[in-house]
């Protein structure tokens, strides 16, 4: 019999009950809740007269709808329907007694940034949230995935989820990354390679030297977009970096419990002889700074490439590419770095952490946003915002001409007033370039924070390495 993968190990530790056909009841260690996908679930509990089974394992925070402009405590800043959702979360969190970070709390932020930051997310856990980017928490070696609202209600009521097991896929990034290449470029390259359905039916474990070299922030960026590759979850085995990150955080274990936890966490890696249903290997050295040109995250190419033609594809993708080219208003053969943009958005659960802001600041230091470009930075949480201010990054951003916002999802999905107008083109560090994602008719190019900062300076999609050479001391 072959050994176990990391996924197998976490799964096995959480099975409450398994049916003969493999359908299992899985115990959930952490349940994160936000205002958009939870109201109907809480309503369901009330209607059935049910309680939240484990309020101490449940963490609620408003993020999708909240304004990110100063003075947002004033409810008039929100359109009525958003306000109703945020108020519903407030009431539900208090009525059911779950952990809660309201808008006024400095720990408020995007749910996937809040979890790790406060030590709620730990290795070996099962973590769910009514949000597809829950995969982010997999960076800690936690089995984390998005669920629908009916499942949110199921977890609230029973602290379990009915699941059938996915297959195991290994994505290995060998070697090391070239200068200017970041976690975002890695994950866009992976999705460009496997397609948005390449991971369907799988849980992906990311491994290889290039992944080991990444910081926890970078690993979160990778796992965040596992869902864009179709996978149920993404995982990275915990190591010293993980333990260092977790240690001392508010809800992380302390003292003897820390030692006990650490002993178990150190067993959380795939065995040498584990069986993989699918393996993808990419050389780290082959990855370039990457951007998307189309309306699917799989439409990713190195910044040095040109806009493709629909005929370059096959099958159903030909029509999709045609539609994407029209929607994005792009002509095949145009060099990607000649595409002019008018908006820059740095933030989201993919790239709204401190390291992302540092990377953007490094490019922006002593430079200015090009005239006529709207540029905003939205930190992923109040704590990230405070740290960025302490490190002087906020000053760099405002001096460069960026708006420096309060924490939330903001223009990642444009449920709050931060939106693109029809036809506007945005360099964004978020995770989805779908039609209308950032505002009806808006056009999104996905990239890393450093690349987005470079685009802000030049007004077009830009190979950040150009600006890095200029930066080198004489």
């Amino acid at each position: 019999m072959s050994g176990k993968t990391l996924y197998d190990k976490i799964w096995d530790a959480h099975v409450v009950h398994a049916d003969d056909d493999g359908t299992s009841l899985l115990y959930i260690d952490r349940h994160l809740v936000h205002e958009v996908t939870s109201p109907q679930a809480f309503e369901g509990l009330r209607l059935a007269n049910r309680q939240v089974r484990a309020p101490q394992r449940t963490i609620a925070v408003p993020d999708h709808n909240v304004p990110t402009t100063l003075g947002r405590e004033n409810p008039d800043q929100m359109p009525e329907d958003s306000r109703i959702q945020v108020e519903a979360l407030d009431k539900n969190a208090r009525d059911f007694g779950v952990n809660y970070y309201p808008v006024s709390d400095i720990r408020q932020g995007i749910v996937h940034i809040v979890g790790p930051e406060n030590g709620w997310t730990l290795p070996g856990m099962t973590v769910v949230c009514g949000d597809s980017h829950t995969a982010t928490h997999g960076a800690f070696g936690a089995l984390a995935h998005g669920i629908g609202t009916s499942e949110v209600e199921h977890v609230l009521a029973t602290q379990t989820l009915i699941q059938s097991k996915s297959k195991n896929m290994k994505v290995e990034i060998t070697g090391s990354l070239a200068p200017g290449v970041t976690a975002k470029d890695v994950v866009l390259t992976i999705i460009g390679h496997t397609g948005t359905a390449g991971g369907t039916g799988y849980v992906i474990e990311y491994c290889g030297d290039a992944i080991r070299e990444l910081s926890m922030e970078g690993r979160m960026t990778i796992c965040n977009m596992a869902i864009e590759g179709g996978a149920r979850a993404g995982l990275i085995a915990p190591d010293e970096k993980t333990f260092d990150y977790v240690k001392g955080r508010t809800h992380a274990p302390k003292g003897a419990q820390w030692e006990a936890a650490l002993a178990w966490w150190k067993t959380l890696h795939s065995d040498e002889d584990a069986y993989w249903d699918k393996v993808v290997t990419i050389r780290g050295e082959d990855i370039a700074p990457t951007v998307t040109w189309g309306t699917s995250p799989e439409d990713a190419l190195p910044i040095t490439a040109k806009v493709p033609a629909a005929e370059d594809f096959s099958g159903g993708k030909v029509e999709a590419a045609k539609r994407a080219l029209t929607y994005m208003d792009l002509t095949p053969g145009t060099p990607l770095d000649e595409i002019e943009i008018d908006t820059v958005f740095i933030g989201s659960c993919t790239n709204g952490r401190i390291e992302d802001l540092r990377a953007a600041a490094e490019v922006l230091k002593g430079r200015k946003v090009k005239d006529g470009i709207r540029a905003m930075i939205v930190p992923g949480s109040g704590l990230v915002r405070a740290q960025a201010e302490e490190e002087g990054l906020a000053d760099i951003f405002t001096e460069a001409g960026f708006e420096w916002r309060l924490a939330g999802c903001s223009m990642c999905l444009a449920m709050n007033p931060d939106q693109l107008a029809p036809g506007e083109r945005c360099a964004a560090t978020s995770n989805r370039n779908f039609e209308g994602r950032q505002g009806r008719g808006g056009r999104t190019h996905l990239m890393s924070p450093a690349m987005a900062a470079a685009a802000a300076v030049t007004g077009r999609l830009t190979d950040v390495r150009e600006l890095m050479t200029e930066n080198e001391p004489a």
Binding site: T37, Q40, D81, G124, S150, A231, R437
Partner: protein, 201 residues
């Protein structure tokens, strides 16, 4: 939940691949705190123009497809966000079954919680069904969950796979939470054991 047994109805062809949840129900309609009433907004940005008028070319606006109960769609249907508003909107519109070569994982699971049946079939089968759907409202397709068969208007039949538990719940219209609540003793004892083994959690 409404039971799903057997359905004969009009199928609308949507050959586009990667139809994502933002297309199925754009974010401006996620601000509801209810599950119902989203049908008029299904596929909003493809279905209506900037002034809110129907786009005549969009398949579900065409007279022959306005009452479609089945969608035949391109690969990777329902990719993107976890929003259950997507199946809510489809169900509210009147869709009961979706046929494609593949579905995104979360969307697929969400369908079953809302009486919707997603059917994954090989490309060749979907091609035939797509052609059949293109014939319009005179061609009525049949989806038989009990026997796991889709039949075209010409009588060509394709069997599909489905998880036995999901099938059972859909056919009986069962509520998962109620079923799980019956296992409360198992959950209690798991919690007790886990508190010993991993007290820090």
């Amino acid at each position: 939940m409404e039971k799903f047994e057997k359905l004969t109805g009009v199928a609308a062809p949507m050959p586009l691949v990667n139809i994502d949840t933002d297309m199925i129900i754009p974010k401006q309609f996620l601000k509801t705190i209810k599950r119902t009433g989203l049908g008029v907004h299904a596929f909003d940005e493809m279905r209506y123009d900037d002034d809110g008028n129907e786009v005549p070319d969009f398949v579900l606006n065409k007279p022959q497809y306005r009452d479609a109960q089945i969608l035949v769609a391109g690969a990777n249907f329902g990719c993107g966000s976890s929003r259950e508003h997507a199946p809510w909107a489809l169900a509210d519109f009147g869709i009961r079954a979706i046929i494609s070569t593949s579905f995104a994982d979360i969307f697929y699971n969400n369908c079953f919680k809302n009486g919707l049946l997603p059917i994954a079939l090989p490309q060749e089968a979907v091609d035939v069904l797509m052609k059949d759907a293109e014939k319009g409202s005179n061609a009525r397709m049949t989806v038989d969950l009990e026997n796991q068969v889709v039949t075209t208007s010409d009588g060509e039949a394709f069997s599909f796979e489905i998880d036995a538990f999901k099938k059972h719940c859909l056919m009986e219209g069962l509520d998962d939470i109620g079923l799980t609540m019956e296992k409360v003793t198992a959950i209690d004892s798991f919690e007790a054991d886990a508190a010993q083994a991993r007290p820090w959690v």
